[in-house]
């Protein structure tokens, strides 16, 4: 089997983690990669901790199990740290991308991990300033591209523009706001 990159999203119901996982899947698929995107199966309840998953590979993906050992963990809501088991199953070289106002060092302390790479960004603030609402899912994708480098950033942006244009035909301001959010996140993410 070819190497499969596995991603786990942590969020609260209503924050758009499922949408983000599916949008990420769509844009990565358009880049010619094989991909899966799926939510934690079950009724979605506003505010309850939820998970969503992605698998990305250069070859067709056969596996249909849940993601147990994600290479990358994305946390959309900082208040989940300590509530949801964010570090569960993550290997030593795992990558964490966290929406928070804290620094990577502070987050490392909170998570209680020594290894792995931590990226932080204030996605709420970014989305407030660019989209006008605190919806952190799109900026998190920018941070994801920065952290993984799995697609060249320019190409990713081109695809996102196409996708967003399809989704928000009647609201061009939303498209621009989202694109700006991704770009700022890409630039502003802190790493340790």
């Amino acid at each position: 089997m070819a190497k499969v990159l596995e991603i786990r999203w942590h969020a609260r119901g209503g924050q758009g983690a499922k949408t983000a996982a599916l949008m990420l899947a769509e844009s990565v698929a358009e880049m010619g990669k094989y991909v899966q995107g799926f939510p934690e199966y079950g009724p979605e309840r506003m505010g309850a901790p939820i998970q969503a998953f992605n698998r990305i590979s250069d070859e067709p993906i056969y596996i249909h199990s849940n993601v147990i050992n994600p290479n990358i963990v994305i946390v959309l809501d900082p208040t989940l740290i300590g509530k949801a088991n964010v570090t569960e199953g993550v290997p030593e070289d795992g990558i964490y991308i966290i929406n928070t106002t804290k620094t990577p060092a502070e987050v490392r302390e909170m998570l209680g991990i020594k290894s792995g790479k931590i990226y932080t960004l204030d996605a709420n603030q970014i989305s407030l300033e660019t989209i006008g609402r605190a919806i952190p899912n799109t900026p998190m994708m920018g941070a994801f591209i920065r952290a993984t480098g799995i697609i060249p950033f320019d190409q990713f942006m081109t695809h996102m523009r196409e996708q967003l244009s399809k989704k928000f035909k009647s609201k061009p301001e939303v498209i621009e706001g989202n694109l700006k959010a991704i770009e700022r996140a890409y630039r502003e993410v802190n790493a340790e």
């Binding site: 995107g37 799926f38 147990i68």
Partner: protein
């Protein structure tokens, strides 16, 4: 022209339905209905299809309306899942016995109780003896491809039976996956224009259908249904080949994965077959001759192909995502063991019930199955014939 897209299983099936552009779709619009119907109804609302969409008050009525439409000469479809299929049960038998080519996707989910909405094959297994053709799909691609072929299979003059296209609830239906979709014209040409043979709205040739049979005719008409099922195997094969020519993806009755030289094999339907293939690949890298058999068609049962594919294998594990409560294993297990009996060799066949109510089938579960098969192969001893995988015991 083909194009690669990322779609959920539900979207892929709705897309196939859009390209098939059936005359009538009758469906119950509320839970446990799936997104398939919701997406399709938006195609209807946007005028992207010519379909007459009939929103009915239950799945029992959905299949009844589809029967009425099909009997009238329309290309008719419906769709459902879990409890909905259970409620449809009675009418599915009638559709089959009236020999109406109704195609209906089923998103496989558990039956209550306890109340559960997750992946499980109990719904489809409940209708395995109803006389409908049952196709199973490993992923969104296969669900899409099966839908398109199902129309031709159902309408073939040697068959004329309903076709149920199954895919795993959530795992396939709600997950986004990469697949290749055909362009509209290719699909249109492949499915062709439906020419019903006998239909009620043919004013020139009035007929009566759905008639009453006493003990003097019922038996004979049931025997005819068996013959149609037999004929369906050849038809499914031919249409699978023809589909290969337009898509590059040829289909048979089963998929045989690395079975040619296999010592140990797993038999499993739908998405879990993909997981099993992944594990088989890993084990092969470590010298274990592992293979996977995935029945694509479960009814009619492809006994010849299965016997041929498994004849060299020493130990087989059948994975069932449904319980029969017979206390001697799941439904597929019974069928497979039955078929292998004719080989008169010492092939060992064991059963694992797995994944009920959406319990995740992990890689290590499948690896454990292969490991136990290797043990059986080496020692020739089977301790327990029916086991549970991923169960807390």
């Amino acid at each position: 022209m083909k194009s690669k897209v990322a779609l959920t299983g539900n979207e892929a099936v709705a897309q196939a339905m859009k390209q098939i552009n059936p005359d009538v779709v009758a469906a119950y619009p509320i839970t446990p209905q799936t997104e398939i119907v919701q997406i399709f109804s938006s195609f209807v609302a946007n005028g992207e299809v010519d379909t007459e969409f009939v929103a009915v008050e239950s799945e029992h009525s959905a299949m009844s309306a589809a029967i009425g439409a099909a009997a009238g000469g329309a290309r008719a479809m419906t769709a459902t899942s879990s409890q909905g299929l259970a409620l449809m049960f009675e009418v599915v038998y009638i559709a089959a016995s009236m020999r109406l080519p109704i195609v209906f996707p089923v998103v496989n989910r558990a039956l209550s109780g306890p109340i559960n909405i997750h992946c499980d094959h109990s719904d489809a297994m409940g209708l395995r003896d109803s006389g409908v053709i049952q196709l199973f799909s490993e992923n969104a691609q296969e669900a899409y491809d099966n839908m398109i072929q199902a129309v031709r299979i159902a309408e073939h003059s040697d068959v004329r039976l309903p076709v149920m296209v199954n895919m795993d609830g959530f795992i396939t239906s709600h997950a986004m996956d990469v697949l290749e979709v055909l362009d509209d014209e290719t699909v249109r040409n492949f499915v062709g224009t439906y020419v019903p043979e006998d239909y009620l709205l043919d004013a020139e040739n009035p007929i009566s259908i759905g008639n009453f049979d006493m003990y003097d005719f019922y038996f004979e008409h049931k025997r005819q249904q068996v013959e149609a099922m037999k004929a369906a195997k050849e038809v499914i094969r031919e249409i699978g080949k023809e589909f290969g020519r337009i898509s590059g993806r040829e289909y048979g009755l089963i998929e045989s994965y690395k079975l040619d030289d296999a010592d140990v094999a797993v038999v499993v339907l739908n998405s879990a077959a993909g997981t099993a293939k992944g594990v088989a690949d890993e084990l092969r890298a470590n010298g274990v001759k592992a293979g996977v058999l995935k029945p694509r068609v479960y009814r009619p049962f492809p006994q010849d192909e299965i016997r041929e594919a498994l004849k060299g294998v020493k130990a087989v594990a059948v994975l069932d995502r449904a319980e029969t409560f017979s206390t001697c294993g799941g439904p597929i297990f019974a069928d497979i063991r039955n078929v292998l009996y004719d080989l008169k060799n010492d092939i060992k066949v064991v059963n694992y019930v797995y994944g009920l109510g959406g319990r995740d089938l992990r890689l290590e579960h499948v690896a454990q199955v292969f490991e136990e098969l290797e043990n059986i192969r080496k020692t020739g001893r089977v301790d327990e014939t029916v086991k549970y995988l991923g169960l807390r015991e």
